[in-house]
Symmetry: C2
């Protein structure tokens, strides 16, 4: 991987000066296409040992581009602990479509650093690289292009430069890495891990480009050319075709009658008022106690509510709300995305609401919208909702791995019960707002939702985040089941 | 203030049940007007001693409203230290127009708590209340209405309830306040401070409503009625008239020829290339050293660049950029607001970028847009830009008080020099993007900008955040002056 760059690469000052104006003009024109099209954003990852000139490349690119549409994305030092899932900080910083983000430090940093320091075994390292590969594939599908540049410097030269650097005014950031990774053993392991990472994550959509960094002008001209190439490739992508309405939302057509997981539920289950009062209070107390325990301060709770219209999501959330400390939870009803949300990958608007440890977030409808309403209504194409299952599993897995308990509910009622509740809503003044003509229309799509729910549960019910189907024909039964599930899950997780 | 509520207030269960359905329906209808009009948001502040039922009122309101457009805004405990200016967290949480935010804990908490604990003298307390009054007036002018409810409980009853509370499962949040403010002396001081605060901040646009809290149904019915009244008052506000273009942007017409502060600058100042190289490097080194010092970790740097088109803002920022650790600074070019920004008070989009301590943020154009381009182009009315001076001073003062160094520059060139630079931009391919036909058109407004700048400097050059006018006819001179000013200000602040 790093073999061919070990030969000397050099560009004469005069040659560079001759080349620069047209490179600059071409880059600007290509950047304006990105800005005007607003279809994609571009992340430029610049990696390399300290002293290889990451900051230098950054400054040169800033001199060439329209900087008003470029952001530098930086993150704290690689090994620092955080109070949110590790991927949260990268999601938060994603620039909107039309813009370029230049990253110093990225999702490669933590695994490389931990591997070099011997804190991570090879199997875990490989698995981390695979996660990265899936993450980058998701970004690419969702409108974020990647240009990954690896600045190569041989070890002797890298050490020499680092020493020179630590003598200057730039003491703070360098010395810390120097202390951690400065030893010859760790540097060797970092080199090996880097080569392995570059190989494993050089995919078709996001290959690594190794750039010899010893000669400054060569390095920068190379980086500029790669950027130009990437921008031109983005501009040349064909305009996406308008989404056709899917003729049939089930993915695998067949002769067998479709299986409906919802039809297996026993909707007759119910509680008497006395049972309800007693059990509701008990589960609320359990949740209060568990979410106030010290162990919860290192965990967190993420709850997603889905279900048919009028299945009782809001009233269930209200009972859950009463068990929680208002200082430490939020409810997010999911409505139409804002323009800041529309200009980024789909999951961005959920990641932005993932709270600190020790807190709870409740989603009233959730990221499953893509495989439910967007699928059934044809708001996105089969490609989009088809790959959403895997992306959602990765998302929930990352949140779970960070210690959060992820609980998701489907509240199920029968068609007849829904009709009854709609009519009730029409007849009571202060409930009328909950019903729109669209709700009545959606009833015609019941079989489509049935199929979508079945596939959703099949494909996204995981060990860390299993689906809980809630028999909601009797509201009291449903509320207690939801609260008890949350309490049980918290108890199991907090030990 | 609290006298009349000491008598018994009571509502029979039956009366409450009779009243509730119509109150609920009225509330919903009024809320829908807020949602549909999207002109204003409403913050409901609920204050009162622990045990007075703040959470109870909150839950009842949630039972009555369309909760999808209501957010609970909570903040950490009153006396906790923070890593950003104290007002930042309130700004961050402002709901968009059309929504209701219910606040448990607010900007009243810290001064009340500090006053009750004897950490704050009376003069400082009064001055904190005045700041709050100005802040609330700004919110009101900028589309945020306020409903402030004070739940009253006599001391005997409050103590009894608090004791009962600490026995239950809700141990964590209560016990901390109890420990801090539970003593009879502190409670008495809290009561006195509360009364003083309620009196001092009961303004016409945001009066306090004291609600007797001993009887739960009375308390909630009262809170609901106040909310209904407030929502109806908002709905009844006349539609704002479309903004007329101001006939004359100077506020005080008179016989004297207008004074131009920019005309007093000596634009002939310049540096030789050798002076420039040496001085630029020196100032960059100073800034690097100062922003890497431990003292800077408890401070921060906020820089705003304004100036004529082509005065050299971008190229100056580039020289500043090179002196800063890329891990710890951001540049924000100010362009058209996003819809999330448009749905909130003007200063929100600047507050959201105020960084943690130890970091730098550079604004390429800034919050002064309101009194410059928006004023001159008639994008907002004289009322809006007229009150912006005071609001901006408060904003900068709050940031400065939190330890940040606030530096603001106007880069000045002559009309002739601007024409020369525009022509240069036209002739060089990679500079052409910096010039639009609008830039040429804007030259006709030179005298209007001249007057706007003069008034801006007069009214917003403060001791903590003075304006620095930069003679930018010679780019080298300008860059060194900017960097030296920043280094000097940092040196003075960090000691």
């Amino acid at each position: 991987m790093f073999e061919s760059v070990k030969f000397e690469h050099h560009l004469d000052k005069a040659d560079f000066k001759a080349l620069e104006p047209s490179l600059r003009e071409d880059l600007l024109n290509a950047q304006f296409q990105l800005i005007d099209q607003k279809r994609r954003s571009l992340l430029v990852l610049i990696h390399g040992p300290d002293g290889s000139g990451k900051g230098g490349v950054l400054n040169r690119l800033y001199g060439w581009l329209d900087v008003r549409k470029v952001q530098t994305l930086t993150f704290d030092m690689p090994c620092a602990e955080e109070d949110r899932p590790p991927m949260w900080k990268y999601w938060r910083e994603l620039p909107p479509f039309g813009q370029i983000g230049v990253m110093l430090g990225s999702w490669y940093h933590a695994p490389l650093c931990r591997r070099a320091l011997g804190e991570m075994g090879r199997a875990d390292f490989i698995s981390a690289l695979q996660e990265i590969q899936r993450f980058e594939a998701m970004l690419h599908s969702e409108g974020v292009s990647l240009l990954k540049i690896w600045l190569y410097l041989d070890d002797e030269e890298a050490r020499r430069r680092l020493k020179a650097l630590t003598k200057g005014a730039w003491q703070r950031p360098v010395v810390r890495e120097w202390a951690e990774l400065g030893g010859a053993g760790a540097r060797k392991r970092l080199y090996e891990a880097s080569e392995e990472a570059a190989r494993a994550t050089s995919t078709e959509i996001a290959p690594w480009h190794v750039v010899p960094a010893a000669d400054v002008d060569y390095r920068d001209a190379m980086a500029g050319s790669l950027l130009l190439e990437t921008l031109r490739a983005i501009a040349a992508e064909p305009e996406p075709a308008p989404q056709p309405l899917p003729p049939n939302p089930t993915r695998v057509p067949g002769a067998l009658p479709p299986f409906s997981i919802l039809s297996t539920l026993d909707l007759s289950q119910s509680l008497t008022p006395a049972e309800y009062e007693a059990q509701l209070a008990r589960e609320q107390n359990r949740i209060t106690r568990l979410t106030n325990s010290p162990a919860f301060g290192r965990a967190g709770l993420v709850v997603a509510f889905e279900g048919s219209d009028a299945a009782g999501k809001s009233s269930t959330i209200m009972r859950l709300r009463r068990a929680l400390d208002p200082q430490r939870f939020r409810v997010h009803p999911i409505a139409a995305p804002t323009d800041e949300e529309r200009a980024r990958p789909y999951l961005w608007r959920f990641w932005r609401h993932i709270p600190q440890h020790g807190r709870t977030v409740i989603f009233d409808r959730s990221w499953y919208g893509r495989v439910l309403v967007e699928r059934v209504e044809g708001l996105c194409g089969p490609d989009d909702w088809g790959r959403a299952y895997g992306e959602i599993n990765d998302f929930e897995d990352q949140v779970s791995q960070a210690g959060y308990v992820v609980v998701k509910f489907w509240l199920a009622i029968s068609e007849a019960e829904q009709a009854r509740r709609f009519e009730e809503r029409e007849s009571i003044a202060y409930k009328r707002f909950k019903l729109t003509p669209e709700d009545w229309r959606n009833r015609g799509k019941w079989p489509l939702y049935d199929a979508a729910v079945t596939e959703m549960v099949d494909r996204t019910s995981t060990r860390t985040a299993p689906w809980v189907l809630v028999e909601a024909e009797d509201k009291h039964f449903a509320r207690v089941k939801v609260l008890r599930t949350i309490a049980d899950r918290l108890e199991a997780a907090l030990g």
